[in-house]
Point group: C2
Chain length 333, copies 2
Amino acid sequence: MNRQFLLNARPVGDIQYSDFELAETQTPTPGDGEVLIQVLYLAVEPAMRGWMENRADYVAPLELGDIMRGYGTGRIIESNNSDYPVGTHVSGSFGWQEFLVSDGNNVPLQRVADDIDLPAAMGLLGVTGLTAYFGLNDIGQPQAGDTILVSGAAGATGSVVVQLARIAGCRVIGMAGSQEKCDWVTDELGAQACINYREDDVKAEVKRLCPDGINIYYDNVGGEILDIALANIATNARVVICGGISRYNLTGEIPGPKNYFNLVFRRARMEGFIVGDYASRFGEAIGVISDHLRDGSIKHHETILEGFDKMPDALMGLFSGTNMGKQLVHVSD
Amino acid sequence: MNRQFLLNARPVGDIQYSDFELAETQTPTPGDGEVLIQVLYLAVEPAMRGWMENRADYVAPLELGDIMRGYGTGRIIESNNSDYPVGTHVSGSFGWQEFLVSDGNNVPLQRVADDIDLPAAMGLLGVTGLTAYFGLNDIGQPQAGDTILVSGAAGATGSVVVQLARIAGCRVIGMAGSQEKCDWVTDELGAQACINYREDDVKAEVKRLCPDGINIYYDNVGGEILDIALANIATNARVVICGGISRYNLTGEIPGPKNYFNLVFRRARMEGFIVGDYASRFGEAIGVISDHLRDGSIKHHETILEGFDKMPDALMGLFSGTNMGKQLVHVSD
């Protein structure tokens, strides 16, 4: 049997278990030219909250009853397609399910290189690492000596941004939600300092740690922290809007950044992006990040829950901040 | 005697007459290398509200008792400097006063070409026209066929943006505060349409007039209109933050643009600028705008109050929207 999580209800406020339905169907049989994939890992991302609501219109709508959309890695266990022999590891937008069939096109498949650890392929070398790479380099345009503030610095994207910015010669200030996370961000990822936004006086700490202003603010959270960052940007600053996790579970009118007008006084720019727009350059990014991984200048870390039934917990955990690095679910061996 | 308006109090909420003090001093005598300038026209700009409060830190602070800062044109009436013979027309940051002395450096002087109408030199070819030129071209980056929405379209900057954008081949939608202004924006300035934000259903009109989204939003007003624009931006849109006149007289917490996150969904950018940063390219801009003026493709219009004592009224009028085009005060003939 093939277990699947379907979208059962559009979330209102915090995501609930009842927003999902765990369904069982027959494991599909691959037809001509098709392969059967057993899913090994599935990833969760804050953006899924928007997909569940159809708030994000840059992706096809997700209807009630649809299989939850999501990225995974798996192994070919039956093959009628000589391009993908049995045993090949592949990744793609598999959805929240244990098995699927593909002809390589209807669900596009990427081969995972043999020397790449599968969890790393899901985070550092997956959508998350790509997001960090293009958001930092193309939108943030780091220069050696820049001060960069990264919110969600212990998260999947933020932890890669911290390391790529350090490699680019920036002075990196992280921000995360616990002392344990902050220690990881400074000691393992190489940030100069990390602000614990649950404990520290964020306003005072940002001022103290960025006395000459913030050249790049890489925002994963939105809300009040975005406002504090905007109040402290340097001339010609770049504010990279990557995510706004503090907003996603809110309902009603969500306040905007009241300090946006500092963009004028500081001749600064605030810009959003969608990683999928950079698809033609994914190879470049994966090449650069893989080199950093091989020479030890960049580390990967995943928080892994065991068992397919943990998918809703994994997603909900992103909003309470239970993960360090990429949040994955280990579906099968 | 030389009359001057001094900053008497920092405004709170709407600007009051009592925020200014009308003082009389001896008309100054030019020393060696100096000239005496009789001020002919003075300009007012919304940014002055921020200078009075020292909210804008990109300019030197304005202290209580200082002469109000502002741009003017005048005539040399006494000269001890062969570079500036008597009768020469000059412009510069003269301040709110009837006479001043300069050696050409302490108050930098620009010569006004003989064939240029003095009011045009203050608006279209002054700071306002330069602001329109660099905000539109460098931040907005117009492409032929783009749809551009311009708020404050009947204002000093907006009216130039509308015309430059039309010349660049854009489809221009203006927004202004009366039917008379809207008629001027469409019939004289050449916008395709103009929304009367005091009478029309702005949300519905923006949607109707920009069915494929806004490629450039040139913002002079901020507030709810910025939010409506953000909700309607097209992919890769540029949101030029030039001004925020709806904000300047507000006190307390001023809401930010709650739709800022659409910058992500639309891979769009919101950017501020200060025209003074482009000083090295003012010649380029004045050349281009002068050519348009001579060939009739661009028009200038000023609203002129008579008499130096009208300076406070002129400034206050910007916030109630009494001006069409550049607001000037005619100080003397």
